[in-house]
């Protein structure tokens, strides 16, 4: 019997980010926790549910998702980034992402693919996160060229990535600079090690 999965082709976790009781396997095999911590931290958020929505300008999906190309924002419990002119990425808890995708009218030239398993997602956070990123990426990370809520495709340590600035609020209420990095899952260990090396001088 053929199962139709036009809307979400690959696995959508059933509950709490996992499929049944099977753990999501990280794309990073070896992690030195000490190296990943410090004033610039490196975390693996690959298990977060991620969907790609492709939609032409004249579709209902494009109107619903909105956003200017190159920008991103939090919408309730999900995060939406318009990473390419006709592509949005939606991240968040599984049920929230599924709900949002289910609400989209995918009529016309629009489609969606679950990219949870194909795109890893790391987060580089800290006051000097931009300086760490400058060691591996040629993007201009200044506030005027890459403000919070901006996103772009770029080479990071020679791997094709999507880079999204998504600052976080620290325990003291202060805003802390933070970048999400997405790329093909298979580069996980390599990219993680490259980022650990890049941030090493900042602690």
């Amino acid at each position: 019997m053929l199962v139709s999965w036009n809307t979400m082709p690959t696995s959508i976790p059933k509950e709490n980010g996992s499929v049944a009781d099977i753990q999501f396997e990280s794309p990073v095999i070896i992690v030195d926790p000490a190296a990943a911590c410090g004033s610039v931290t490196l975390t693996d958020e690959s298990s977060m549910t991620k969907a790609s929505v492709r939609a032409a300008d004249d579709t209902a999906a494009a109107s619903a998702l909105g956003l200017a190309f190159g920008s991103a924002e939090h919408r309730g419990d999900v995060f939406v980034a318009r990473i390419r002119p006709d592509e949005w990425m939606v991240f968040g808890a599984a049920d929230m992402v599924v709900a949002m995708i289910a609400e989209l009218d995918l009529g016309g030239y629009a489609s969606t693919v679950d990219i949870t398993h194909s795109r890893l997602m790391f987060r580089v956070t800290g006051g000097e996160a931009a300086k760490a990123m400058e060691k591996v990426c040629s993007l201009d990370f200044s506030d005027h060229m890459a403000p919070n809520g901006s996103c772009a495709g770029a080479s990071v340590a020679k791997v094709g990535c999507d880079v999204i600035r998504d600052d976080i609020v620290g325990a003291d209420g202060a805003t802390i600079r933070s970048y999400r990095i997405l790329c093909d899952r298979s580069f996980g260990q390599y990219l993680f090690d490259a980022l650990v090396d890049a941030k090493a001088e900042f602690g």
Binding site: M1, L2, V3, S4, W5, N6, M8, P9, T10, S11, I12, V19, I22, Q23, F24, E25, P27, I29, S46, S47, S52, R54, A56, A68, F69, G70, S71, Y109, S111, V113, I115, T116, H117, S118, R119, E134, K135, L139, D140, F141, S142, D143, H144, M145, A146, P147, S150, A152, A157, K158, D184, R185, S186, F187, G188, Q189, Y190, L191, A194, D197
Partner: protein, 950 residues
């Protein structure tokens, strides 16, 4: 360890006398202070010879005492070619002279000097040309005379870093003008990166008066307060298109060197001036120095450069040297004022030091120090790299900028002369102009960049250049005296050599440079270029303007290979099952960027087990593209040679993909998962290329087609389950999929749950020729499913197999591999799959070329079996027409088959040899010729396909 030449402490020095440093110079224990250069410390200890010259091995001492000093290249530990006039002394340094034997003091290679008259420019070119067969001998001899230090091949590779930067303004040079420019630009709101070649900012203020040094300190404080990022001991090595700058930072706290790639909106060139040596007989004797060298040694390092000096002064720098020498208690025997008509004719001395100077008025003065202050070279390199062609001003006796592009500005001594305050004022005006232009550029870039913050208002007006220029002080043209001397100290090239080369016809400046190698040494022409041009002009009886000059190209200063290499980024990819491979004794093989298991110890055993029981293999690198949209069939029909409009949902079809020239680009199977939903697979190595190819057709050839392509190669962990027990094994793990032979036939696809993982895809296809299933599992659960297969299949004899076993089995089955059995000239007919070439289809990539190829002769892939079953011809062995050396084909794949216990091969041969039963002659790598027979089918094993369809 008495520092016999150390002067009493003064407020102007940069050395810290409370921090003594011990070091070793050619085996002698010496003492210096923190802040000393290597050269200043050695001079302070009484030694004044620091090197031997390249060709004649003449003793050399301090000439300019800075980064450019060609006489101060030393070996420090295992690091060769260290610039002792620049590099700071460090505790425990083991410093030695380079390229001397047996010692610096008694260098046997100085015998070259005796034959000097025969070692003129072009000597190598003329002498070692013939006979050509002797070149290996020449090479060995010449290698012994090669200059430079010694590289220890066991030296550990240091940490070399890389960084990108996007400052509004980069200022190259932190003298008074550069500092002022940086401060002004930052105060106008620009982000500024200030790059200084030396260890301290301030430029010539550092060896000037107390007021000068105080001004430098004030400027430094202002720069820091304005938020200027200051890099000392760093060099802007090159300027490229649109202000893409290379910056070598030698002062990084954790890296040996860091290469900064900066995209500046405006570059300010404030490189200052470099003092030019004077050409006269004896100008390379130890004890002949520029005025700047003398002032730096005395004022910054507290070192007495000699006891009795003659000063040839044509400018204020010479006057300052006179004052500095007197204050250092050096007798000034004579000041030869070159602003008049007198000059120095020649210097005479012993083998180790100058002893007297002959002046043009006929007098001869005894001395151990000759100080020259005869003019300046404007280091316009960065301007040259920007497209500017500086022009020579005879009245000022130096080159000046001409018309650099708008986003490159020059300031300071490179543009003119002035007092400290005038230089600072010009710098400030330049900084304000740079900030204004950068602001306009930033507005434009920001408005044009989708991800940038929104910009308000219209683009600011691009400021015009209203700066009041610095004046140009008159300066006598002093390049060469009445005698011949060295022009290029690095290469031992004299003015006589240049005259000789010009007389031989090498009288254009570009030819002269290459023939004599003048200006091509480590100083990169900073000291030599203007004198070289002036002497050529003299030889041609023309002016410098008429002769022209060479063009300075990157790098501004030599840069280490380590810095250029930077941090090594070599991405590697692994599948989600990789931890299991590592833990279970796999032998890795690098396939493109992928690290894959080649085998787990015995690939033949892996083949036998798969043929007998069941094997599983990790094929995740297989390219996978998710295709969605109503026009997917049109796309597939365009890409593949066969027909795709009627592929049913649940069906799988194989296809060959051609480039426009009909050459096989890739192959693979594509499944129809839903009405408008397909999954395409490509070869592992072709995954990226095919994605590009697909997007090319969609974005440029047929933008009207509605197809969305998403690469899922790594999102789906792919496992091939092959062997007689494969169905039984898979059935233990799947839900919702009927694996029965009638329900799930060969070349069909299903989706369902495997080992409790939803949304898995199962294809019934096989590369190995066995009953097999290819499953694609969401990668976050790939390892879980792999482990489940091993656990559930234990009683079925399941075992993993690697890439090698897979290659053997596919060869037994006669499946070709694109790129292995085809090449860059193999058009689709070569595959032998003529039935897949649908010329009755409207259009497809490569159709016309394939149609032409079918009418022509083309090589064909055939299965080949050597007559002697034990012989496995090496891949790429030639196939010859019998009895001749005419090549009619080659072996493309070959292995020993553990299933058939004989060798199996695929080959490409001319069509006339592609007939079954033809006997081929194969030329082995050892020269032996063997016979091999062309088989009836590609498949050596199960040609009817009973096993895979079972």
């Amino acid at each position: 360890m008495i520092m016999s030449n150390r002067l009493p402490e003064s407020s102007s020095e940069v050395v810290d006398r409370s921090k003594p440093i011990r070091f070793d110079w050619n085996g002698k224990k010496m003492k210096g202070f923190e802040g000393d250069t290597i050269a200043s410390a050695i001079l302070a200890n009484g030694d004044h010879i620091l090197s031997r010259s390249l060709k004649y091995h003449r003793p050399r001492g301090v000439l300019t005492h800075d980064f450019w000093d060609p006489n101060l290249m030393v070996q420090v530990g295992d690091e060769p070619n260290v610039r002792a006039g620049h590099r700071r002394l460090e505790a425990g340094m083991k410093i030695s002279a380079q390229n001397v034997w047996p010692s610096l003091k008694f260098d046997a290679k100085a015998a070259n000097g005796i034959a000097g008259r025969f070692l003129t420019a072009g000597f190598y070119y003329k002498t070692f040309m013939k006979p050509a067969r002797l070149w290996p001998v020449y090479e060995k001899v010449l290698a012994r005379f090669a200059p430079g230090g010694e590289v220890d091949l066991n030296t550990p590779h240091g940490y070399h870093d890389k960084r990108y930067a996007h400052p509004d303004v980069v200022v190259a040079g932190a003298g008074p003008a550069g500092l002022a420019a940086a401060i002004a630009a930052a105060q106008c709101g620009a982000s500024v990166l200030l790059v200084e070649h030396e260890y301290e900012v301030g430029g010539h203020l550092l060896w000037g008066t107390d007021d000068d040094r105080a001004a430098a300190a004030t400027l430094l404080a202002q720069a820091a307060a304005a938020g200027v990022e200051i890099l000392t001991n760093s060099t802007v090595t090159g300027r490229y298109e649109d202000n893409w700058l290379g910056i070598a930072q030698r002062s990084h706290p954790i890296a040996v060197e860091r290469l900064i790639k900066a995209r500046a909106k405006v570059l300010v060139v404030a490189a200052g001036l470099i003092e030019r040596p004077y050409v006269f007989q004896g100008n390379d004797l130890p004890g002949v120095m520029t005025s700047g060298a003398v002032s730096r040694l005395i004022n910054m390092y507290g070192v007495k450069p000699g006891k009795c000096a003659v000063v040839l002064a044509a400018n204020e720098s010479g006057d300052q040297a006179v004052e500095d020498l007197k204050r250092a208690d050096v007798e000034v025997a004579r000041v030869v004022d070159a602003r008049g008509s007198t000059t120095v004719n020649c210097a005479k001395g012993s083998r180790t030091r100058i002893k007297s100077v002959e002046v043009s008025d006929g007098s001869s003065i005894d001395c151990d120090l000759l100080v020259t202050a005869v003019g300046w070279t404007a280091p316009t390199s960065l301007l040259n790299m920007s497209g500017d062609r500086p022009v020579y001003d005879a009245a000022a006796a130096r080159f000046f900028p001409n018309s650099p592009p708008d986003n490159v500005l020059a300031t300071g001594g490179i543009t003119g002369d002035g007092s400290r305050d005038e230089l600072i004022a010009h710098g400030r005006a330049t900084g304000e102009l740079a900030a204004g232009r950068a602001n306009a550029a930033r507005h434009r870039i920001q408005a044009a960049t989708a991800s940038a913050a929104a910009v308000a208002g219209d683009e600011p007006e691009y400021p015009s250049d209203n700066r009041a220029p610095l004046t140009r002080a008159d300066h006598p043209e002093l390049h060469r005296s009445s005698t011949h001397g060295l022009v290029d100290y690095s290469e031992d090239i004299s003015s006589k050599d240049l005259f000789g080369a010009a007389a031989e016809g090498f009288d254009s400046v570009e030819l002269l440079k290459r023939f004599t190698t003048a200006t091509m040494g480590p100083s990169q022409g900073k000291l030599e270029t203007v004198n070289t041009v002036a002497i050529l002009a003299e030889a041609r009886a023309e002016t410098i303007e008429q002769v022209g000059t060479t063009v300075w190209r990157p790098p501004y200063a030599p840069i280490s290979l380590g810095a250029l290499g930077g941090r090594v980024f070599e991405p590697v990819r692994v599948s989600s099952i990789h931890p299991w491979h590592e833990a279970n004794g796999y032998t890795p093989i690098l396939a493109g960027q992928w690290v894959r298991p080649e085998h787990y110890g015995d690939p033949h055993a892996e083949v036998r087990n798969t043929r007998t029981n069941v094997g599983i293999t990790d094929v995740t690198p297989l390219g996978k593209l998710d295709l969605q949209g109503p026009d997917v069939p049109k796309l597939l029909s365009q890409l593949y040679t066969n027909k795709w409009m009627k592929l049913p949902v649940g069906g799988v079809r194989y296809g060959i993909m051609c480039a426009e020239d009909g050459v096989v680009l890739d192959d693979g199977v594509t499944a129809r998962l839903g009405e408008d939903h397909y999954l395409m697979t490509t070869t592992s190595s072709g995954a990226g290329g095919v994605w590009n190819w697909v997007e090319n057709w969609l974005q440029t050839e047929h933008p009207e087609w509605q197809v969305h392509v998403t690469p899922l190669t790594t999102g789906l962990t792919s496992i091939n389950i092959a062997g007689p027990n494969s169905r039984k094994l898979l059935s233990r793990l799947v839900d919702c999929i009927d694996l029965g032979p009638g329900a799930f036939e060969y070349m069909q696809v299903r989706t369902g749950t495997i080992a409790e993982v939803d949304n898995c895809i199962v294809w019934r296809i096989g590369f190995t020729g066995e009953l097999s299933y290819e499953i694609h599992v969401p990668s976050g659960h790939g390892l879980h499913v792999w482990n489940a297969l091993l656990e559930q299949g234990e009683d079925l004899g399941v075992a993993p197999f690697g890439l090698e076993a897979q290659r053997i089995m596919r060869l037994e089955k006669g499946h070709f591999i694109v790129g292995q059995d085809t090449d860059g000239l193999s058009k689709a007919p070569t595959t032998g799959m003529i039935s897949l070439l649908k010329l009755d289809k409207d259009d497809w990539a490569g159709k016309t070329e394939v149609a032409w190829a079918l009418e022509d002769d083309y090589p064909v892939i055939v299965a080949v079996q050597p007559t002697d079953p034990k012989i496995v011809p090496e891949e790429a062995c030639q196939i010859l027409r019998d009895g001749t050396r005419e090549i009619v084909g080659r072996i493309t794949s070959s292995r020993h088959s553990p299933t058939l216990e004989r060798s199996v091969c695929l080959a490409q041969v001319s069509r006339e040899f592609a007939v079954a039963g033809t006997t081929l002659t194969v030329l082995l790598a050892n020269g032996e010729r063997i016979n091999a027979r062309v088989m009836e089918h590609h498949a050596h094993f199960d040609p009817e396909g009973e096993r895979l369809r079972g």
